[in-house]
């Protein structure tokens, strides 16, 4: 029978079935971070052990400072989070890339970077943006702390098969239009709850043409469309990306894995519960204006009629053009857009220009930082007056204290424009790294295509 990518991975991981159509799924890979302490505590309180420490990988990202790394962490709460992760992973025998390790970073950046994420695997993490890893053809989804404890203790998870939704993006993207614009357009189209209960598969020529890093951005924001899981079928782009990475299979194992992976893409006759089509040729740079990622519009649009509370929070009025809106802060980073390619795109825009407003660039991992520095991107950012910082989640979620002050407007490459997400009263506008870089050097929301043509 014809199957989708999601169905193939699901079937291959069923350990047992339970009442109500639930399956006990085997978990191949488990990522842990500095917010995972609740789960370790629950495990300890129940007197349970970690079943398969060899299938786990841990690194701190949420609370890590992005400045003055070498100094003693002054905040005892933050220091405690780092120490707890060291203790918990040490006691269980789990690999841990600590703050002084070049491989440290945001879990969703290091999973693919290390080759820990692979096609066909089930991968979970106590973080909603785990959907990111689906870009390699994995079935990856975020779980809560109780589920993290469950996976640590049993290496399995009870789940119900999701419905399938394929999103076909035709055509090709114009210059200045990036994968962030694609996913914002998708969310605007299907709504922030549109993917609830579904596993998404992104397909079509515009998706196929994307690099691995650009695909990661797309799958990352599946959760912002309400879907726990979003995937892209593996292909040569995936295999070339993975080959030679530390956790990727080697030699004959690689050949065997490759043969297995080639069977994964959805069968031509596979049926999806829903399909949505999007014209990639028609896409332009996108910006959010409101407090949900679905509030995304082309940069040349105007603020629509909306709930007074939302408009008041954002300090906007209907009919106001988005382009030209004065911005106070810029954040380039997060599990959505902090990879080398994102930094290259941003650097190309700021090169030879000067930042008009405070702007932070936070690479997604120590290795991304090293690679960027090796090609001089740090110099470009610093010369343009942007800050070049140490890797972590930073201002996407503000848990480490990198916050936007109340009432300030932030052009951000992150994934959520929720009220208070980047700080109490912070006004977030989500956009691509190219657009955020354009905002940095103009001090306004600016269609980056204007800067490219000069």
């Amino acid at each position: 029978m014809s199957q989708t990518l999601y169905e193939k991975i699901w079937t291959a991981h069923e350990v047992a079935s339970g009442p109500g159509g639930r399956s006990l799924l085997y978990v191949d890979r488990h990522l842990l971070h500095d917010g995972s302490f609740h789960a370790f505590e629950a495990l300890r309180n129940a007197g349970r052990k970690v079943r398969r420490p060899d299938l786990c990988l841990a690194t701190p990202g949420h609370y890590v400072p992005t400045r003055n790394r070498a100094d003693h962490i002054a905040d005892p709460m933050v220091r405690g989070k780092m120490e707890m992760l060291i203790e918990n992973t040490g006691a269980a025998g789990i690999r841990h890339f600590g703050m002084d390790d070049a491989r440290q970073g945001i879990v969703h950046v290091i999973g693919p970077e290390q080759g820990f994420t692979q096609p066909g695997v089930t991968l979970v993490c106590g973080d909603s943006h785990t959907s990111t890893h689906g870009a390699l053809g994995a079935m990856a989804f975020g779980i809560g702390a109780s589920e993290v404890a469950h996976v640590l203790a049993t290496q399995t998870l009870w789940a119900r098969r999701a419905k399938t939704l394929r999103i076909n993006v035709s055509g090709s993207l114009a210059a200045g239009v990036h994968s962030k614009d694609v996913i914002l357009a998708i969310i605007a189209r299907i709504s922030a709850a549109g993917g609830a209960g579904h596993a998404l598969e992104y397909a079509g020529p515009a998706i196929r043409a994307l690099s691995m890093e650009a695909r990661l951005t797309i799958c990352n924001m599946s959760i912002e469309a309400g879907a726990r899981c979003g995937m892209i079928a593996p292909d040569d782009t995936t295999y070339q990306y993975l080959h030679g990475r530390p956790f990727a299979p080697k030699g004959a194992d690689w050949d065997r894995a490759l043969a297995r992976w080639r069977q994964l893409p959805s069968d031509a006759a596979a049926r999806f519960d829903r399909e949505v089509d999007l014209d990639g040729n028609a896409l332009v740079p996108m910006v959010t204006w409101g407090t949900s990622p679905e509030d995304a519009l082309p940069v040349n649009a105007v603020v629509p009629e909306a709930k007074p509370d939302t408009l008041h929070y954002m300090g906007l009025r209907p009919g106001q053009p988005l382009e030209g809106l004065a911005v106070d802060r810029v954040f380039i980073g997060s599990c959505t857009n902090s990879r080398l390619e994102d930094l290259r795109i941003a650097a190309a825009v700021v090169k030879g220009r000067k930042a008009m407003i405070p702007a932070m660039v936070v690479p997604g991992s120590g290795l991304v930082k090293q690679a960027a520095e090796a090609e001089g991107l740090d110099r470009i950012f610093l010369e343009a007056g942007l800050e070049w910082l140490a890797p972590g989640c930073s201002m996407c979620v503000g848990m480490n204290g990198d916050l936007v002050d109340a009432g300030l407007r932030c052009a951000s490459t992150s994934n959520r424009n929720f009220e208070g997400r980047q700080g109490k009263g912070a006004r977030t506008h989500l956009m691509s790294p190219a657009m955020a870089a354009a905002a940095a050097v103009t001090g306004r929301i600016t269609d980056v295509r204007r800067l490219l043509s000069h």
Binding site: G20, L24, G120, I143, H150, A193, G420
Partner: protein, 190 residues
């Protein structure tokens, strides 16, 4: 875990769609340990504006929240569920929920109830018109009794229902499948 059987309590209406976990409890408060009591920061930024439904005297005793579409969307942080539970809330009714928040609720012995949008809207209106009214949720019968006496039925996954009714710990249940897991590990390559 405390079993969930029948809950008869004051219900509070919250008519805002897409309430995300950051609004339930802003991430910046989650650097505190859970023992600090996350309910201290429940809906922190919304409450600061004043007049928040849970701060009105008629709703002080609320144990049920009647919300709008996509309640609990956003992050996987279970702190959102713990903050609600810490404030004494045990059930939430909405037309739809964030998937991860929905699962997290069950894991903590709490019940998310999905009803059609018009039915939830009608309930919110009843509660707004007569603040302090009580609602009864009967999990075994899968019914919600409105303050006006009308009764709505809801669907619930039978596995989740059993766990809630009995207060079962899911890890204990799963470990009954120990052999199946070990067998799977022997034959599985990934």
């Amino acid at each position: 875990m405390e079993p969930f059987t029948t809950l008869n309590a004051v219900a509070a209406p919250l008519d805002i769609a897409n309430i995300d976990t950051d609004r339930i409890i802003p991430a910046r408060f989650l650097r505190q340990p859970r023992s600090a009591g996350y309910h201290h920061w429940l809906f922190h930024d919304l409450r600061e504006k004043g007049g928040f439904v849970l701060d009105r005297p008629e709703f002080k005793a609320a144990r049920i929240l009647v919300a709008a579409e996509n309640f609990g969307c956003g992050s996987s942080r279970e702190g959102a569920v713990w903050a609600l539970a810490g404030a004494g809330l045990r059930a939430w009714i909405a037309p739809s929920f964030g998937d991860i928040f929905f699962e997290n609720s069950f894991k903590n012995g709490l019940l998310p109830v999905i009803l059609a949008a018009d039915k939830v809207a009608r309930l919110r209106k009843l509660l707004a018109d007569k603040p302090g009214s009580q609602v009864t949720i009967d999990l075994a019968a899968q019914t919600v009794a409105y303050p006006d006496g009308s009764l709505e039925t809801f669907d619930v996954d039978p596995f989740r229902k059993e766990c809630l009714l009995n207060g079962w710990d899911e890890i204990d249940l799963t470990l009954q499948h120990q052999k199946a897991i070990t067998d799977y590990e022997r034959r599985h390559t990934s």
